[in-house]
Symmetry: C2
DNA sequence: GCTCAACCTTGAAACGATTCACATCTGCTG
DNA sequence: CAGCAGATGTGAATCGTTTCAAGGTTGAGC
């Protein structure tokens, strides 16, 4: 805990305080001006003030200006609660992601925000930490606030809560998760396809023995990506039992990748010439191990990652990786909510295709 | 735009649709239950329902249970707007950062969120993109919503808007920016001190000629960090004119750092033995250039960065860097808002001290 | 001069929770 | 048994906006 008040800030404060003659102990709470106040000052009825605010074209120019002047003078600001209470409308949507500190969701959040800004909506953003209770609490808060819709990356087993929200007539779009119900909209990325892209790329380079550094099969992503790898091998006429070594990762980070790669290199029998890592952190660790052990990349071992994190392109050997359109997912999900609201169309279920970004870790001549 | 609907999702939808007999064209809007409905069902008055909700201890056990049952049955959810309109209270605060997609602010946001969660507050989070207009728009939305307080990383020239918000009795805490007024609370990090830490560390290692890869002096951070460097040199009896080469960066990213380092190595005259980079991206580029040109790190050139981004520790030569307590800043700012609300105490102005994380890029034997 | 439409404006009735002054009931004290 | 306190419950008033039926003006057309 290293915090301190700066000396400069404090002395500046004292200087000001001395200069100021505080009349009252504390400034009066200064209640906000209401439409009534504005109406009084402008000499019109509250209805007219409301019209100036919401349908200015229905108000005579003179009156309109008078009201506007009064609004200025009183620094009137609409009370969103009263507005919503009466009109039922609220320009807010809620989003729950697993963790806003994770760049993955952060990019998504940015997409959501940008789409909302177009329609002057505000965003309530929360992290569930994959804790269904915490998620439920946030969903309830959203509902109390009467949000127009909810975007959610469901944490394990929380889908029911979202379905019941949908039943109470709140629009819901699932993020990064395909919808189990036709009523529920969703935006996801095709993980099977992403892994297939990576695998296909390595096979195209002439590799015939691959390693796959994979995480626990309790994660949907790991299962899907494995499916993608296996399907691709089969479709190219290769037998996974021969062409593939799958190494389980202790942890889904750089150290896990490092350890797994060392295990792979110590393996008896013919060494694979290419490695597909289930994410970029893992690939980073694998690259580190390869460098430490003097294995040339991509010459002796090609490496492909997944996620295309920001530093993938900045590494000593830039990492080939599968890029997921997170920003676009967020943007699209928000767009579905805003466009679809109140319409009769069935819920859309979109799946985006990921994209392979080829760099130097898998192809010698690439960037 | 590569999007597609999955075949599986569609066939699943058709299957369900066939099974379902849709009675009405569209489910009735199903108005939410209100306290009145609950009161009616439980056979009590609305006042009692409100009491069960807000002061359950004032209600007899039997009645309380009856009301709770009714709430359950009707799936009653409070209407936050009505609640706020009457009671004036709202458990929401707004935050504007420059860009939520930036890990820097993201970590801060996470700190804010975690503190708010303790008090069941919700967060409205927005990115200003350093656009004062966009920021002003968000601040107005916050004000309309009647938020309890606002946390803001001010964009250039937007402080006035924040001050006027403060005048209208909305609590404001400035983030990552020292407050210009005693009335305005703030939480910042000491950039001068951070640069002094880095510089002191390099001098401690015996270096006497330093390079400083710095960004444009229109950024406060760059100015402050430069001050820290210069002050430290002076306080150790070194003449900056001799001991320091400052290289301006074209761009504040890896490529800028790469180019600047190449320029530095091409410099005539004695080569510095240590480089301080104004941020980690720049340092990453510098390290890349050093490796490409065969200069040993830290043997021939020690490198220190700033920000301690997530990958600093994962590089081939792990990067020594200055870590700023972003999470703690966010947490503390939110805490100030929640604790201070309505109290009479003067606004706090806190400045956190950054921390030097020593790794292999500046000390051979370090991690 | 009458009619009619177009245009403005009005003001009271919502919206749904909270609050608070007031009723009612119970049991206890002196 | 009057008096009183404490516990429990009531319901009308209130918050600040939007909505909408209805009223008032104006001017054109006949």
């Amino acid at each position: 805990m290293t915090s301190k008040s700066t000396a400069t800030a404090e002395s500046a404060e004292e200087a000001r305080r001395a200069r100021r003659a505080r009349p009252a102990k504390r400034a009066r709470p200064a209640k906000r001006a209401s439409v009534t106040d504005v109406a009084k000052l402008a000499g019109v009825s509250v209805g007219t003030v409301s019209n100036v605010l919401n349908r200015p074209e229905h108000v005579a120019a003179g009156t309109r200006e008078r009201v506007r002047a009064a609004i200025q003078e009183l620094a009137f600001v609409r009370n969103a609660s009263a507005r919503q209470l009466r009109s039922g409308e609220i320009k807010t949507i809620g989003a729950v992601v697993l963790d806003i500190a994770n760049p993955f969701f952060t990019e998504m959040a940015r997409g959501i925000e940008d789409r909302l800004a177009q329609d002057d909506f505000t965003l309530m953003l929360c992290s569930s930490d994959e804790n269904p209770e915490r998620e439920a609490r946030y969903l309830r808060l959203f509902e109390e606030h009467g949000v127009q819709g909810v975007l959610a990356v469901p944490s394990h087993g929380s889908i029911d809560a979202l379905i019941s929200l949908r039943k109470r007539n709140i629009d819901v779009v699932l993020l990064d998760h395909t919808s189990p119900l036709p009523d529920l909209a969703s935006v996801a990325v095709d993980d099977v396809g992403g892994a297939a892209l990576a695998t296909g790329h390595l096979l195209d380079q002439g590799h015939t023995r691959l390693a796959f550094l994979n995480g626990p099969l309790t994660l949907r992503q790991c299962v899907d990506r494995r499916d993608g790898v296996v399907q691709t091998l089969l479709s190219r006429g290769l037998d996974p039992a021969e062409a593939l070594i799958e190494i389980p990762l202790e942890t889904l980070n750089a150290d896990g990748g490092d350890a797994a790669m060392r295990a792979l290199l110590a393996w008896p029998g013919p060494r694979p010439t290419a490695t597909f890592c289930v994410n970029d952190l893992t690939a980073l660790g694998a690259l580190r191990a390869l460098r430490d052990l003097g294995v040339a990349v991509p010459g002796e071992m090609a490496v492909v990652g997944y996620d295309d994190v920001n530093f993938a392109s900045m590494l000593a050997t830039p990492l080939t990786s599968v890029r997921q359109p997170m920003y676009k997912m967020g943007w699209t999900a928000a767009d579905m909510l805003l466009r679809r609201h109140g319409s009769d169309e069935p819920a859309e279920q979109i799946e985006f295709a990921p994209e392979l970004v080829v760099r130097g870790s898998s192809v010698a001549e690439a960037g």
